[in-house]
Every structure is written in C-alpha cells, then in structure tokens.
C-alpha cells in the first residue's frame, strides 16, 4: 500500500485495488470555495434544482469537460449539453430562429433605441429644431513636431559645483 502526497492537498491511496479514492480540501473561509462546498451539499442531498446523489457523477463529468475544453475540444460539452449544439447550428442562424432575438422585451427595447437615435438626428415637429448654421470642418490636428527641437544641455560647471558642494560639507 503506498501513499503519495501531491501539493499537500490531494492524496491518492493506491492499494492494489481497482477502486481509488481521492480527497481534496476546501477552504471555506474563502467565498468562492465556500460556495463550492454549498453546491456539493446540494449535489449530494438535493435542493436548488438538484435531485441529489449526483455529486460523484458531477465530479467525473466536470473533470472530463474541463480537460476536453482545455485541449480545444467540444465533444464532452456537446455530449453533456446537447442544446448548446443546436444553439450554435448555422442552419438555425439562417432561419433566423435565434432564441434570444425572439424575446419580446428585447425587441421592444431595440425598437425604442432606434427611435431615440432617429429623433436625435431628425427631430419631430414637437421638438426644438436645429439651427441652420453653416457647417465647419473639424479642426485638423497639425503635426507640431517641427516646432519642437530637443537640445542637449551641457553644464560645464557641473564638476565645479560638485567640488564646491563637497567642500561645504567640511564646514
């Protein structure tokens, strides 16, 4: 029977058996890890939309999913969440059946925005009219570099200044 410690947190017991058990720590003083602990509770015992008794399966699926995605693959993603595949289907986009765009509230907001933009440039009779003032061209940013001339400054007295400063230290 051998024990192997990795990173001080995860240890694996290899006992010549087909099954292996893996434990890991959660620091519940950290908010993110505390919420993970809460999720694990509901995965085990149910609640918040979880039927319970699916913790181990979730761990297995989660590791498979992350591993696959990090390799640039989406096979496990589509296996576990088939509806995502249909969302991303080109045929679905061509038929214009984007699920989000069917939302009535969103359509209403987009129409309102369009109206506001239109009124800003073409006000209705009830709104103030733009003055018929002559149009001026935008100012052109001139290149002022030719007006700037960097010159090195040489102070021939710098050495003398140093000696004077040093001599003053002795006074």
């Amino acid at each position: 029977m051998g024990w192997q410690e990795q990173a001080g947190q995860l240890w694996v017991k290899i006992a010549g058996r087909k099954k292996i058990r893996i434990n890991f720590w959660l620091d519940t003083s950290r908010e993110e890890e505390a919420s993970v602990a809460a999720m694990i509770y509901h995965l085990k015992y149910g609640g918040y939309g979880s039927p319970g008794r699916i913790f181990t399966k979730t761990i297995r699926d989660g590791i498979r999913l992350i591993w696959d995605l990090r390799q640039g693959k989406t096979d496990v993603l589509f296996e576990l969440f088939p509806w995502i595949k249909s969302e991303l289907s080109p045929r679905t986009l061509e038929e214009g059946t984007n699920r989000l765009a069917d939302t009535p509230i969103l359509v209403e907001k987009l129409e309102r925005l369009e109206q506001l933009l239109s009124e800003q440039f073409h006000p209705s009779s009830g709104n103030p009219k733009a003055l018929s003032a002559p149009q001026f061209a935008d100012p052109i940013d001139e290149d002022d570099d030719d007006l700037i001339q960097l010159r090195p400054v040489v102070n021939a007295n710098a050495s003398q200044n140093l000696i004077k400063s040093l001599m003053q230290l002795q006074n």
Partner: protein, 360 residues
C-alpha cells in the same frame, strides 16, 4: 603640509588605499577587511618547507590579515561590518595596516576616509573623535620590521561614499577641475558595496546635504544578495563545506573576476561557482531595479544618467544596462589619468580631493 597624502576606503568587504607619490601618480593596495590571530612562529625550515605569510603586530596582539586569513589560519577570524564600526579599534587597525602597506614608515599623514552617506554625519564625528582620542600617533609593526612604524595623522577628512567617487571624474590626477558634461543635468550615482548600497542624486553636480541621510540601504550590498546566498547553497552540497565563510566566496569571486576561474576547491572537491554567482547577480540587479531605480528614482525617468560604482558594479552592470540602456553611463572615458576600477573610485576620488585642497 603632511609628509604623505593617503586616501583609504576601509569598507566592510575590503580596504582600498592609495597614496600620492611625489613623482606623480599614486600607489595603490587592496586587502579584504578581515583578520585572525596568529603566532607567526617558525620552525626555521625555510620558505620551501614552511607556509610563508605576512603578519602584523598591533597593540599586544599578532594578526594575519586579508586573504592570508583563509590560507593560513581561521582561528579567531574577525570582521566588523555594519553601522557601528567607524573609528573603532578594528577600523583603526585596517587604516593602520593600509598606511603601512602603502610603504609609509614615519612622518605625518594627511588622511582621507569614507562613510556611507546615510551614516555620514555620525560616522564623521566618530572617526575624527576616535582617531585622536588616544593621540594622533599610531604604531604598528609588520613582519620583517626591525622596529615599529610610527606616524602622526595631521589631518583627517571624511567624505560620503559615492560622492568621493564622483570626484574621480570631476578632478584630474593633479586635483584640478575637469570640465566635462558627465555630471550635467540629473545624475544618480549607485555605489554597490559589500554591506551597503548608496544611491545619490546630483543636479548639475550639486547635491542636497539633507538627502544624505536617506541615501544608504543597509544590507543592500553584495554580502546579503550574492555572497550569503551562494554560501548557503554551497554548504548544502557537502558536510566538508560547512566550514566555509563569506570570505571564501568573496575570494573565489574576486579571483574569478580577475582570471575567469571561479572554481572553489576544498577537501578534495572542486565546484565552479560561476553559475551560482551569475544567478544571484541577476537577482541582485533585479532587486536594485525594483527597489532603488524604479522604486525611488522612477525608473530613471527625468534622470540623465546613472553611474555604477563599487564592488557590485561588474556583477550587475550587464543586467542594468540591458534594462535601462543608454541611461547607464560608463564614466571611464571621462576619467583622466590611468584607468580606475569601479571598486577603487572612492579611494582615488578622495586622493584627488586631497590634492585639490592642498594645492589650492
């Protein structure tokens, strides 16, 4: 006027000392700032059969100094690093050994010393007080001397580290002002020593004395960032290496920088330290970039140039130049006289300042 003009940077890692020669130019020496007790006894077997080494008699004790400490004996090995050493017995010992190694046996000495900017005010007071509290005369006897050497400190000047180095390119070898544009505009001087890292900003050569206090990072030097980490790594490889000290790594590093051979040999083993040194040198450069250059000096925005000096220069320059490109300026083309290594710039700058003062 003093008989001898000497400038000594008795740093935490090593002691650099220069002496103005009457014929022109200067004499220069260096030794690691470490000592150990020694007996100096000989079996009379001659130099072919006995290990030969130098020692000094200082006070009532005999010492081996510098690299001889590792070669001959590690008994009572002693360093004193940190903020409290200025003018203490060990510091005075290093100064005296340096003066003696420069060939001085008697007379009066115009002495220049250095302290980190962040401790400058306190260190200057301590140095000037402690060097004179037992009288201005110093005695020390080297191996081979028939009698102790004796000289008097006629004048003691203390400069902030880094700024003393800047005098290398502000003055020529005779102590006269050099008109160049190296210090024009905003300049940052980074002095990477063994214990401290000092960072000073100048504007057209001027600096704000009020800012000196904030210019030193203790434990910002190569001991903390390179020597100690390399030593820790090496000690883990073998029990035999457990007796190694930072001085062993320092010796290997200095040898490698000079000869290209970074091999450490002990107890029948050898190991090439270059990969480790390179790794920690880059890490040190990153630390400097993050904490000092970006953290304090806005990534050198608004700064015309940054000048790197000190022992850490050859270890970090290529990384800092890679990240900050044209902002890292090599000052050596602006230095008159013979080429000066970055680690020697404080001592040589101090000598030039002394010459400027005595000839004015």
């Amino acid at each position: 006027m003093a008989t001898h003009i000497v400038s000594i940077d008795a740093g935490n890692g090593g002691t650099n000392a220069v002496r103005a020669m009457k014929s022109g130019g200067y004499k220069q020496i260096y030794f690691p700032s470490v000592r150990a007790s020694a007996t100096g006894e000989s079996l009379g077997l001659g130099k072919d059969l006995e290990l030969q080494y130098d020692y000094v008699d200082w006070g009532s004790h005999r010492y081996v100094i510098g690299d001889d400490v590792l070669r001959v004996t590690r008994r009572h090995m002693e360093r004193h690093q940190g903020a409290f050493r200025y003018g203490d017995e060990f510091h005075r010992f290093l100064i005296s050994v340096a003066v003696g190694k420069l060939g001085i046996r008697s007379g009066s000495v115009d002495l220049t010393l250095f302290a980190p900017p962040g401790m400058y005010v306190q260190a200057r007071e301590l140095l000037q007080k402690r060097l004179f509290e037992h009288g201005a005369t110093t005695m020390i006897q080297f191996k081979g001397d028939k009698k102790p050497r004796r000289w008097t400190y006629e004048n003691v000047t203390v400069w902030p580290e880094g700024l003393g180095a800047a005098a290398c390119f502000a003055l020529d070898e005779k102590g006269e002002v050099v008109a160049n544009d190296l210090l024009s505009g905003e300049t940052v001087i980074l002095d990477m020593g063994v214990y401290t890292l000092d960072a000073l900003k100048l504007t057209d050569g001027n600096f704000n004395p009020e800012m000196l206090e904030h210019a030193t990072w203790e434990n910002g030097g190569i001991s903390t960032h390179i020597l100690q980490p390399v030593l820790r790594a090496i000690k883990k490889t073998s029990n035999d290496f457990s007796i190694l000290t930072p001085d062993d790594i320092d010796l290997c590093l200095r040898t490698g920088l000079t000869t290209g051979d970074y091999t450490l040999r002990l107890a029948g083993y050898e190991v090439d330290l270059k990969p480790l040194i390179d790794r920690h040198s880059e890490r040190y450069a990153e630390w400097i970039a993050n904490n000092i250059i970006d953290g304090v000096f806005n990534g050198l925005r608004g700064i015309r140039s940054a000048i790197l000096i000190g022992g850490g220069h050859p270890l970090t320059e290529r990384w800092l130049r890679k990240w900050y490109a044209e902002k890292i300026v090599d000052p050596t083309p602006h230095i008159t006289g013979k080429k000066i290594a970055a680690v020697d710039m404080n001592a040589v700058g101090g000598l030039r300042l002394s010459l400027a003062r005595v000839t004015s």
